[in-house]
Point group: C2
Chain length 376, copies 2
Amino acid sequence: MKTIPLILLGCGGVGRQLIQHIVSCRSLHADQGVRLRVLGVSDSKTLLAVSNVSTAELDDGSLLEICRVKSRGSSFTALAGFGEFQVFTDLEVIRKVLDSAMLLGRSAGLALVDCSASSDTLKVLNQVVDLDCCVVLANKKPLTAALEDYDKLVSNPRCVRYESTVGAGLPVIASLNRIISSGDPINNVVGSLSGTLGYVMSEIEEGKPFSEVVKVAKALGYTEPDPRDDLSGMDVARKGLIVARLLGWRINLDNIKIESLYPEEMAPDKMPLEDFLTTGVSSLDESIKERVEKASQNGNVLRYVCVIEGSRCEVGIQELPRNAPLGRLRGSDNVLQVYSRCYKDQPLVIQGAGAGNDTTAAGVLADILDLQDLFP
Amino acid sequence: MKTIPLILLGCGGVGRQLIQHIVSCRSLHADQGVRLRVLGVSDSKTLLAVSNVSTAELDDGSLLEICRVKSRGSSFTALAGFGEFQVFTDLEVIRKVLDSAMLLGRSAGLALVDCSASSDTLKVLNQVVDLDCCVVLANKKPLTAALEDYDKLVSNPRCVRYESTVGAGLPVIASLNRIISSGDPINNVVGSLSGTLGYVMSEIEEGKPFSEVVKVAKALGYTEPDPRDDLSGMDVARKGLIVARLLGWRINLDNIKIESLYPEEMAPDKMPLEDFLTTGVSSLDESIKERVEKASQNGNVLRYVCVIEGSRCEVGIQELPRNAPLGRLRGSDNVLQVYSRCYKDQPLVIQGAGAGNDTTAAGVLADILDLQDLFP
């Protein structure tokens, strides 16, 4: 039986769903000859971890209690005295993670799993990579930091997995890695990589006003609390950067041309959210309607896509044939099209749900299981 | 630098393409920290292999010469004296493979790569698996043998890869494995898994007679020399069985309901190929035309699909909505749709070229590279 010791950073929706998947997959993984041993779970401030990382683990009761407490919005301090774990705060968090990595990295192995959405995890991730630990990321930020940090993070590529950073659980990174390792040169990648923007673009195609679609999307929980976080295109740009760097591109986030769906003067630092939702976004309806109609006259539709081709990496609205895979896309599905020597006339297409805690956490779990050969 | 020692069985189109990929990827793989060391290459009768499998390898010159000789249709004996290798025939072939497996399996490791189309490799594959070697298959036959043989072959699942048996290089098996290991239950798999039958079904939809489409497909090299090998549905059934077994189904080939596109009395053992092509296939035109028209009246199209759902595993013609991913399929692309808990309303869709030596060999090479963590 293989054992994969792991520490989970981030206990939001994805992190909690991952814990639940780990617990509910116990017998499945036992059949596969693998056991996940959870040594610690952190939120943004606190780490709950076992004292003796060489032998102990958080039992399933404690793990599920952690999920319950966090989903109620309580802090980890509500768990004091519940199970056999210690509470670490502030600088102690990093020290406990690094101590564990030093103790286990070169013997039992350790996977540090980042399901946070923080830029702050990069430093500790790079440190544990240096200690021969594995890293699994749902967090896009560490992979989209400066190139020198990225290089350190992926310095041992077999030990770093990040499927759920692009298209949630869709097998995008795994498939690209297969194509790359088989020496099949990738010429062109085009994708619709935001469920939110996919929904918005297919709804405005039906003639609905942009402002109305944005408000409905927000009400349905499809957008971030401030929809501009999605409409800015920055999230798609991060995904594009992750794919481009995987393809070997030596670029940073600011090398990507990003089209925002709102003008600079409506940015979050210049206009309160309420103003944006009441008057700002409505003022964009007319110009977007014109673009939709112009595309329609050409038999085309508008899609918010990421294009990586030649020397071009950009994200923004493109006019595409209604019958192309991207043009046919409806709702919040993601799609990625890859053109290479093997996929020349017709692309390789990967399509499906590209958002949601369940599928994102499933992608993280598949990544962890796929590391098993690296553990003794 | 990791080294993966391997022996290649089968030197037809896929095997030769694999050799060429291996040679042309030398520097790419060196950058990835991996080196493939080819110890031997066999055709159906003969194995060319180095004497000392612990240290020697077939150099790139010899490998390319092997490809040249085989693509001219010559036998390996034409290579006598060319390079630093020995020639093994008959029972010596198996003995050399097993000797290598015994010597390397538990130390340097060994991958036995089966790019043949033979049923005869099963025994040696199962023997090397017992010796802790890895197995990579483009050959469907060993995986579709009796259940007890299958169980032996996949007894150490991490050491057995077979992406290219279904959909050529399309990431079908890798993606299903990810979904399975994440504990996401797969409820339904529907696929168009034959480029040949995909082409036939989309062409007859345009109103072309079945017989004409079959003859054009044969002329274009899309079919086997005897098109009935494709039209029987047996090749699709094998792919369906491989997927069903991966999902945990305990079935054999004869548990699959298979619809043949020609009646029993036109089977290869009852009607010569020439008779089939001149009169047999034409006699089927009318009934197939009627089916196409009936489907069209319902707004549907006919597709030759594999369905794995509930207790049903079957391959045959189905009437499908013109606008479903399978209905939209054109030409020789393959497509697989997977429904699971995570992909519930909309399926996970994987689509692209599902045939061809280049993409099939690329899939085999990606499988080999993906085994690297199992090598010291």
